[in-house]
């Protein structure tokens, strides 16, 4: 194999972006996936960050954060966080985005807030303020989950991460499935795919429960199922994700100048 598993994951995610889209990315892997898409097949993709940096591409390597100077260097405008998150994202103008998470469930709800001894709904036991592990919080992900026309979730495929139900919904996916999003009148369409280091999950069009749509050459149905915390359904025509082409790899490595995905 002349590529790493992280590179495969970034390329699989990048393939989900189309030319001309307005997009917002998080840090690390998701930013590499997005800018890979721009270089590889979506030259007119426009990206911005939640702090208010618009229209730029990274210069000099992978930014260490979403407001790094590497991502400010060739921006076409600087605004502020409300302009970006409320007026562009939550209002429904963004076409596509990538979110990371600590936990994701079968309806694509994500938890980035904390892990509690009690498991689900910790505020009901009065222990909300005492998490076992306090995580980084909802951040700008909530607006993206609600407002983006569609978005992609990237997560390492591990049983504790892929839960039947997340401990806490930091950012809603399809909530309890079906038409549950409609109750809240969200402008956005919800998560279109969960891209993991083992494969790609997509939501059933009716129930909105995520199923395995495709897996990577080095993975297997058994490995995916063993690392999922719910009874994962598998598409009747489950596919193997095409391996990166030499051109895709070249474009990804141009963006990933510092070799973040090859470590």
């Amino acid at each position: 194999m002349d590529y790493t598993k992280d590179e495969m994951m970034a390329i699989a995610c990048g393939r989900e972006f189309k030319d001309g889209e307005l997009a917002i990315f998080g840090v690390g892997l998701s930013m590499l996936a997005g800018y890979f898409a721009k270089r590889n097949h979506a030259p007119n993709l426009t990206a911005f960050t939640e702090g208010g940096i618009y229209g730029s591409t990274p210069v000099g390597g992978l930014p260490w954060g979403i407001e790094d100077n590497r991502i400010s260097a060739n921006a076409t405008s600087f605004t502020n966080a409300i302009d970006a998150l409320s007026m562009l994202v939550a209002s429904g103008r963004v076409d596509n985005a990538v979110l990371g998470c600590a936990q994701v469930d079968k309806y694509g709800n994500i938890n980035t807030s904390g892990i509690w001894e009690e498991g689900k709904q910790p505020w009901k036991s009065g222990r909300y303020n005492l998490p076992k592990k306090r995580l980084n919080g909802s951040g700008g992900a909530n607006e993206i989950a609600i407002g983006a026309k569609k978005y992609l979730i990237m997560a390492k495929h591990q049983k504790f991460r892929f839960a039947e139900r997340v401990d806490y919904i930091s950012s809603p996916g399809y909530l309890n499935g079906g038409k549950d999003r409609e109750k809240y009148g969200y402008p956005g369409g919800g998560p279109a795919a969960i891209i993991t280091n083992l494969g790609i999950l997509r939501p059933d069009p009716i129930s909105k429960e995520f199923f395995l749509d495709a897996y990577f050459k080095y993975s297997s149905l058994e490995e995916v199922q063993a690392n999922t915390g719910w009874e994962l359904k598998v598409s009747p025509d489950v596919k193997i994700v095409p391996e990166p082409t030499p051109v895709e790899l070249e474009n990804l490595r141009f963006i990933d100048e510092t070799g973040f995905l090859r470590k």
């Binding site: 407001e67 303020n129 909802s138 607006e143 809240y184």
Partner: protein
């Protein structure tokens, strides 16, 4: 206009036990770190802090035990430095109450504070567990006109906002180069604002480029000239990368309860302002 140039020590003295403070910047970017370090030395208690993505200043004060409540949307030092160590430690020990918003929810709460209204609607939020877990910060309201429901946040009115900028004059006119995040709103929401600045510039430059003024002098109580005042974090157009050595020294110091020693050691070496 009144001259407001002062020292870090005198500006930090203004912050009293129990106050709600807000600090500008985002994560490792343009956080008023030097001010935070000065304030940590004063051993204040029961401070409350609010920001969309609280930066190093807030984390230092969490690690120092000065903060008992933190309003935030996102607390992390991102790809290379991970979760905000001081805040995480304090919350997990039950010493700091986390009031979790999404980033925009915190800014809308500041916006309510700035306008003098008791609450502000937030786009989105509904359906996440943040609402039910923080009933003293969020509520859901319904428009009597068209019956649409919307999540609202309670106003935040900081006693002090502390904002680090690239350029200010001695009167407090301040200019943020690069994205301003929430800092303009923060200065309008707070009762008082303290500016720390990379450079003191002539007032004429504000007269020449008035559209670029982020914070006007009459909102500002104190101006402190602190070159490199956001280090070991970054500041647009001034220093581009976090100081990797100091950041890991900071994170280990927090882990080992050695923040005071960290401050003394690295200030003595002249690498920490």
């Amino acid at each position: 206009m009144r001259e407001k140039l002062t020292t870090l020590a005198k500006a930090a003295e203004k912050i009293q036990d129990g106050m709600l403070i807000a600090s500008g910047g985002n994560s490792l970017v343009r956080s008023p770190v030097a001010f935070g370090i000065e304030l940590a030395k004063l051993k204040r208690k029961n401070l409350k802090h609010c920001a969309a993505a609280p930066g190093l200043l807030a984390d230092i004060l969490c690690a120092d035990g000065a903060i008992d409540t933190i309003y935030f949307g996102f607390t992390s030092f991102e790809t290379e430095y991970g979760l905000a160590a001081g805040m995480r430690k304090g919350v997990q020990a039950g010493e700091i109450r986390p009031v979790e918003g999404a980033c925009a929810a915190i800014i809308e709460a500041l916006k309510a504070g700035a306008k003098g209204v008791p609450f502000h609607p937030v786009a989105g939020m509904w359906g996440s567990d943040l609402i039910e877990a923080n009933p003293d910060f969020y509520f859901v309201a319904e428009s009597p006109i068209d019956k649409v429901k919307v999540v609202c946040v309670k106003a935040l009115v900081p006693d002090y906002a502390i904002v680090h900028v690239q350029e200010a004059d001695v009167y407090g006119n301040a200019r943020i180069l690069g994205p301003e995040f929430q800092d303009k709103i923060m200065s309008r929401a707070a009762k008082h604002t303290i500016i720390t600045t990379e450079r003191i510039v002539d007032t004429q430059s504000f007269i020449d480029r008035p559209k670029e003024t982020t914070i006007p002098h009459f909102l500002v109580d104190a101006v402190v000239h602190v070159p490199k005042g956001a280090k070991p974090g970054t500041c647009y157009n001034e220093y581009e990368f976090p100081d990797a050595f100091l950041m890991s020294a900071y994170l280990s110091a927090v882990k080992e309860d050695g923040l005071p020693e960290f401050i003394v050691k690295y200030q003595k070496k002249g690498v920490l302002i």
